[in-house]
């Protein structure tokens, strides 16, 4: 069995990182255990909860089912990369204002998903938001406030 590591270069939030990893290491575990921006969370590790949602080349994907090796050469954005110079992204601000979270564990994934949902043009109505945010489970039941936050941020981004 191979035990060799390979060099992997990751571009995360505009910063370049050089790592030496086993090929089986997922992007999620590379982020959390090797690079330590731990805002991206692990809830199920099988693509069933959405807590690990990040952007790869601007699109929302699940870091738990992405190998770190696959993400080489792509631009990765995590929750830590959203705010600019301490200024919250409109989606982050809307989540705070609408109380769109409770325990906060799913929140990074919800916000990354919401940013993409708006960018994709899938935030046109409450029902569309509910459908296109369905890949992010929230056990605390913050859904009504999440919908309100996405609606608010979508209007803000549009204006």
């Amino acid at each position: 069995m191979t035990k060799t590591t390979i060099p992997i270069h990751l571009d995360i939030n505009g910063q370049h990182h050089e790592l030496q990893l086993e090929p089986r290491v997922t992007l999620l575990d590379a982020l959390r255990d090797r690079l330590a921006p731990t805002g991206t969370k692990k809830g199920c590790d099988h693509g069933q909860c959405g807590a690990c949602t990040v952007h790869v080349d601007g699109e929302r994907v699940l870091a738990c089912l992405t190998l770190a090796a696959q993400a080489q050469g792509r631009a990765i954005t995590t929750i830590e990369g959203l705010a600019r110079e301490g200024e919250l992204h409109p989606v982050q601000a809307a989540f705070l204002e609408q109380d769109a979270f409770q325990c906060g564990y799913c929140t990074s994934g919800q916000i990354m998903s919401a940013v993409a949902c708006i960018r994709e043009g899938h935030a046109g109505s409450d029902d569309e938001i509910r459908e296109y945010m369905a890949g992010n489970l929230c056990r605390c039941g913050a859904y009504p406030h999440i919908v309100a936050a996405v609606r608010q941020a979508a209007l803000e981004v549009a204006s």
């Binding site: 086993e22 069933q48 979270f101 325990c103 929140t107 509910r130 489970l137 929230c138 009504p144």
Partner: protein
């Protein structure tokens, strides 16, 4: 110095400018929306190793062999912990010194007593190596047949249910009540095993330094966890420092320290390095508690005017083969509806599962869905509107005890929620409403209730020379908003603006804040904070009123009030002095005060204390497919004083969504041959997704309660699930004419 406020003393929040009641956004919100909030598994002390559990694939029997060599041969694996080399413990993990000490599986032997029980722990340099090492152990077993269903074992009457209440309770003559009834109903309802499934899996990062232990782990009760670990390892509690600033959800499953968390500490001890252990999602279906299945039979009798003459609520449930926790489902019938005769009774079996534990509204949720369904059936049997029937049977005193309620704004809840929902236009008979798309539409309701519980808590308040304040208590925020609500109470108690208060919580080296559970944390730790604030203000007032140089000289403690960082004379607010001036004159850098929160025994004896609510639900059912969607939920709740309406509304929403989940989604499905849960994951163990949740409204009904505690707080964390689950079930009946008796309600139940 400790000072307890008497109930008649005017609390600060009654004054102008208090933080209490303000809809502040979360103080920890910035950290949470930027990903900077640090949860247990986000910690990486230097030299840390990763531990992964190997868990049993059988349900009952013993581990015959493990291929430890294969695991150790995997590059990066450092050690494999099994019963053979697990470090010694000072206490037997199977000992049970008191009812809240739950037995833990800590590799004490080779026996397997439930699926997903730990059989070994693999410790490695990387998470990947530890995970694969655990797979390489390839265990072999001697297996015994599994006992998995409520009919699979001999039933018995447990010694106590829930927190130790009697298994059987009577009031009046139930058979006479049934006999005298004009109308009777009898129905049996089944609820499944449910798993908490907090989004954050249980995790621990443990580091030993000699006999001192440093831990990051989510805990709903830091002092209890500290005490339990101290007992197991034979070290002093103060040698253990637990940090739990944020829990990624708890719902009861992080109330007591679990076996896997202790195994992380043992692993760190074994290898002499810091260790991180995080449960895999499927491993959460066993060792960290669950809501036990129930089968509940309700018998009710009603007189000619629809008044209840008897309620008999019987519940069969299950515990594990090796420990006791019995879901007190039938106790739901103690508090809501007036009846001259009430009997509640429980029986139980022992199954090959992990021990069930408290799960959000334990007993109340399971009991409520059955009771509220039966009440709906009873109303229909009497030809009455379900709301009218509930009002007819409204309890003016607590039915089981005859005690007066400390406060009860249930009638206001009914009327406000009914009006907001539009209940008045509901047809009495089922299957009469269709929407424009042809969907069967139904309206149902349920009454919500949850006891106002208090535990024990302590807090420490400090006023500093610069006029700012510090409040410390080891409170736990699992999402309910402790960081914010307690800071508001602290600011109120200290007479400061909230920006002037440094509030510290979530760490075991702070005063014991008790447990975040039973919807009692805000009341309990809130009262400790309130009293600590009062104590330090009293000390400050002493300094001022006793000093001739102060404009407050001679006013006496009762003669001053604290506001905005100044003390004022009550009778002449033009005479005041800032905290900083008082401390400077006294030459003090800081003063402190301590406070406790605890239930008042006298009012406890006199009053029944409960929060109440009413929930109305609309569902739409596809007539061909039996597919159910909740389209509207309106709840109104009266739970005493609201510290922060923004956070309280979130708590109600969350509870109501759990109610929807109980009625329509959640169920652990067991393979009866092997005893294994077949949907131990988040794809097939269904919790609602965003698209399942309709427009939700929660009305906050004003309620002053002078008896529960000086702040008038009851509790809001669990009440939302009660009432809602039954309201959804009753709406399904109203839409379809099919009475749900087994939960969750499935497509096939409505394919007619």
């Amino acid at each position: 110095m400790t000072l307890e406020l008497s109930l008649n003393q005017q609390p600060a929040h009654a004054r102008q400018g208090s933080s209490i009641g303000q809809p502040l956004t979360r103080r920890d919100g910035f950290l949470k929306v930027t990903g900077a909030a640090r949860y247990a598994a986000d910690n990486h002390p230097p030299g840390m190793l990763h531990a992964v559990l190997a868990v049993s694939s059988i349900t009952r029997g013993r581990v015959a062999s493990l291929d430890i060599e294969a695991a150790k041969a995997h590059a990066g694996v450092v050690e494999v912990m099994t019963p053979r080399n697990r470090p010694a413990l000072a206490a037997d993990p199977d000992a049970k010194d008191h009812p809240f000490m739950f037995r833990l599986d800590l590799l004490q032997n080779d026996q397997v007593r439930y699926p997903n029980q730990t059989i070994a722990v693999v410790i490695a340099e990387t998470l990947e190596a530890a995970t694969e090492g655990a797979a390489l152990l390839s265990p072999r077993y001697e297996a015994l047949p599994a006992r998995v269903g409520l009919d699979d074992a001999e039933s018995f009457v447990p010694r106590g249910v829930g927190v130790g209440g009697p298994a059987v309770q009577h009031k009046g003559d139930i058979e006479a009540g049934l006999k005298s009834a004009r109308t009777r109903i009898e129905a049996t309802y089944e609820t499944p095993a449910q798993y908490h499934n907090a989004m954050e899996p249980h995790a621990i990062v443990a580091a030993w330094d000699g006999d001192r232990l440093s831990i990051d782990t989510p805990s709903q009760g830091l002092a209890m966890a500290q005490g339990r670990i101290a007992g197991l390892f034979g070290i002093a509690p103060q040698n253990i420092h637990i940090r739990s600033p944020f829990l990624g959800g708890g719902f009861g499953s992080k109330g007591m320290i679990s076996g896997p968390q202790v195994l992380g500490i043992l692993a760190a001890r074994l290898v002499g390095r810091p260790v991180k252990l995080v449960l895999r999602r499927e491993q959460m279906y066993g060792p960290v508690g669950h809501r036990a299945p129930t089968r509940q039979t309700l018998r009710m009798g009603m007189d000619g005017e629809g008044r209840l003459t008897a309620i008999h609520h019987h519940a069969k449930t299950a515990s594990s083969t090796f420990d006791d926790f019995f879901e007190p489902a039938a106790d739901a019938s103690h508090t809501l509806y007036a009846s001259p005769a009430i009997t509640t009774s429980h029986e139980a079996v022992r199954l090959d599962t992990g021990t069930p534990l408290f799960m959000r509204a334990p007993g109340e949720a399971t009991g409520s869905i059955a009771l509220e369904s039966a009440i709906d059936e009873a109303a229909h049997a009497c030809g009455m509107d379900p709301l009218e029937f509930r009002l007819r049977n409204h309890a003016e005193v607590e039915p089981m005890t005859g005690k007066p309620f400390s406060s009860k704004a249930l009638r206001e809840c009914y009327s406000q929620a009914a009006k907001a929902f539009g209940w008045a236009s509901r047809p009495l008979q089922p299957r009469l409403m269709r929407d424009a798309d042809g969907f069967l539409t139904g309206w149902g309701m349920g009454t919500a209730t949850f006891p106002a519980i208090m535990f024990q808590a302590e807090a420490r308040a400090v006023l500093k020379a610069d006029g700012s304040g510090l409040m410390e208590t080891g409170a736990q925020d699992m999402g309910q908003g402790a960081w914010t609500a307690f800071a508001q109470i602290a600011a109120d108690g200290l007479g400061l603006d909230i920006e002037q208060v440094d509030f510290r919580a979530g760490s075991s080296d702070l005063p014991n804040a008790g447990i975040a559970g039973g919807s009692g944390h805000t009341a309990t730790a809130g009262m400790a904070i309130h009293n600590a604030g009062a104590a330090v203000i009293a000390r400050l007032a002493d300094l001022a009123t006793g000093n001739e140089a102060s404009p407050l000289f001679g006013a006496g403690n009762e003669g001053v009030l604290a506001r905005g960082g100044r003390l004022y004379r009550r009778d002449d607010e033009s005479r005041s002095e800032s905290y900083a001036e008082i401390l400077a004159r006294a030459g003090l850098t800081e003063i402190e005060g301590h406070g406790k929160g605890a239930p008042d025994p006298a009012s406890q004896e006199t009053y029944a204390k409960h929060a109440h609510g009413a929930v109305f639900a609309e569902v739409k059912v596809d007539p061909d497919f039996g597919q159910i969607r909740v389209t509207r939920l309106v709840g109104a709740f009266a739970a005493g004083r609201v510290i922060n309406p923004r956070l309280v509304r979130s708590q109600y929403y969350g509870g109501m969504i759990w109610g929807v989940s109980f009625a329509l989604h959640e169920e652990a499905i067991t393979d009866r041959r092997s005893g294994r849960i077949q949907n131990a994951n988040l794809a097939e163990y269904h919790v609602p997704v965003n698209a399942d949740v309709p427009s939700v409204e929660a009305l906050l009904v004003h309620e002053d309660d002078p008896y529960v505690n000086a702040l008038g707080i009851k509790g809001v964390g669990e009440i939302g699930i009660t009432g809602t689950a039954g309201a959804v079930a009753n709406a399904v009946w109203h839409a379809t004419g099919v009475r749900p008796r087994r939960f969750p309600i499935r497509i096939e139940d409505l394919l007619v």
